[in-house]
């Protein structure tokens, strides 16, 4: 939609540039600060690019300077409120809740890590890694993998949690492109030039393929998963999941996308992203919810639930939260 898009910048540089801008704006005209900022800009070409790009990102707002008084802000507030009241209508229709928003999570920067290391994330953390064969590996909250690349094959072992893999072209491999495997508690998967999500669950391993093909190896013939398909693999074999209530790769964009998901399952899902107990009263566990939640703000997601469903969020301590039925007024 924007006329020209702004450059992808390393997170650290973008944050530094924003830091300078905010300090300067906050302090007013401060010559010393201005000089220090100048030095920062000159220290690295990337700094100057970031600085210029940041100013460019402000252009739409400058375009509204011609509007008198509070007209611009009034218009924007009206639009914002309008959207809010539409949500109310949706709520009244019993469809569930819809929270729109641009995910604040940036995938712009990858961290390059050597082979053989273990990668892990803490609760609420999501990270992206670029492996030496060009594979992009993303880990969701509370996840851990081992990466073992040998001359013959590439293997990622999912220890716990959830990952998204976009396999690299493996250009540098001496013997040509090596096969790519993922191993989990329940499954042996072979990726064939592909992007897919793998999730370790109590009862099995869930796999969703976004692009290309993944083969499930077990007893007998491998089962092929095509793009757009989702499978659950456990000790008894593999099974196609037809209509999943949870979008399996939305987390890579920092979102939780639920479609007619039971409240019980949704709270369990949200609980993965935060510390402490998050419990759902069984009396309301069957309520169905649809919506888009931002993973960076789980508390806001919980509040949104109480806005749109006959439920209430009880917070006893920051670590103990219960979702219960709202008393009839």
């Amino acid at each position: 939609m924007s006329a020209q898009s702004l450059p992808e910048l390393p997170d650290a540089v973008l944050d530094q540039a924003i830091g300078w801008l905010v300090r300067l704006e906050s302090a007013g005209a401060n010559p010393q600060l201005l000089q220090a900022c100048q030095r920062w800009r000159q220290a690295d070409a990337l700094h100057e690019i970031a600085w210029q790009a940041l100013h460019k990102s402000d252009a739409p707002f400058q375009g509204l300077a011609a509007l008198p008084g509070t007209v611009a802000r009034d218009t924007l507030e009206r639009l914002h409120d309008g959207r809010h009241s539409r949500r109310q209508v949706i709520k009244l229709l019993g469809v569930g809740l819809v929270i729109s928003g641009v995910g604040g999570w940036s995938l712009g920067q990858s961290t390059r890590v050597p082979w053989g290391a273990d990668y892990a994330t803490g609760v609420g953390e999501r990270r992206q890694f670029l492996l030496d064969d060009g594979t992009r590996l993303q880990l969701n909250t509370a996840s851990a993998v081992d990466v073992q690349f040998t001359a013959q094959r590439r293997l990622i072992t999912l220890r716990r949690g959830e990952m998204f893999v976009d396999t690299g072209k493996d250009i540098a491999a001496a013997g040509g492109r090596r096969s790519f495997w993922v191993s989990s508690r329940h499954a042996q998967l072979q990726a064939i030039g592909t992007a897919f999500a793998v999730r370790d669950e109590q009862l099995g391993t869930r796999v969703r393929v976004e692009d290309g093909v993944v083969a499930i190896h077990g007893n007998g013939q491998p089962v092929l998963i095509a793009a757009g398909e989702e499978y659950l693999i456990d000790a008894n074999g593999s099974q196609r999941v037809e209509a999943s209530s949870l979008n399996a790769s939305a987390w890579t964009r920092g979102q939780l996308v639920a479609k007619r998901m039971r409240l019980r399952d949704l709270t369990a899902e949200l609980a993965r992203y935060r510390h402490g107990w998050l419990h759902c009263d069984p009396a309301i566990g069957q309520l169905e919810v649809s919506g888009v939640f931002q993973l960076d703000d789980i508390d806001r997601a919980l509040s949104a639930l109480s806005d749109s469903l006959p439920v209430r969020v009880q917070r006893f301590t920051p670590f103990w939260t219960r979702v219960v039925a709202r008393q009839a007024q």
Binding site: D58, G63, P68, G69, L76, L79, H80, V102, G104
Partner: protein, 171 residues
Amino acid sequence: MSSPAIPSAPHADIRALYIDHHAWLLDWLRKRLRHGDSAADLAHDTFIHILGKPERLQELRQPRAWLSTVAHGLLVDRVRRQRVERAYLQAIAHLPQAEVPSPESQMILLQTLARVDALLDGLRPKVRMAFLLSRLEGLSYKEIAERLAISLSSVEKYMASAIRHCYLAQR
């Protein structure tokens, strides 16, 4: 309105596309719009839009899927524009006549408002408010802190988060 200069070969393709699919597209749009006139307008706009992208014509395999995608995008844009226009007209309703922006500048302003509205989507209300007071009304950080009854360091934090959000949204 001047027509854009385009090479003649794609022009012939457009012609063929128009002859083969215009009626279908019009019907497709009519099913989605209450007024037949705006369906005709949008069908027209769809072909104009496609004129601007002659390179895409060469590789076109499923013209109807493509046409309906473009038309749908334009439809969504139109609904958004109408929402913005309504909000804007309400906001300027109480302005003295002399202060109302000229009709010529209005179109650009509406586009910019729509764009800014989309950029801000997802910001927390307080962050959004602080940012708007700074960018649209030129308040200093200190003034914003006073107005919102928050600390200066909160304002700085909110501003940093809003600037980041708007940057990433335009990337």
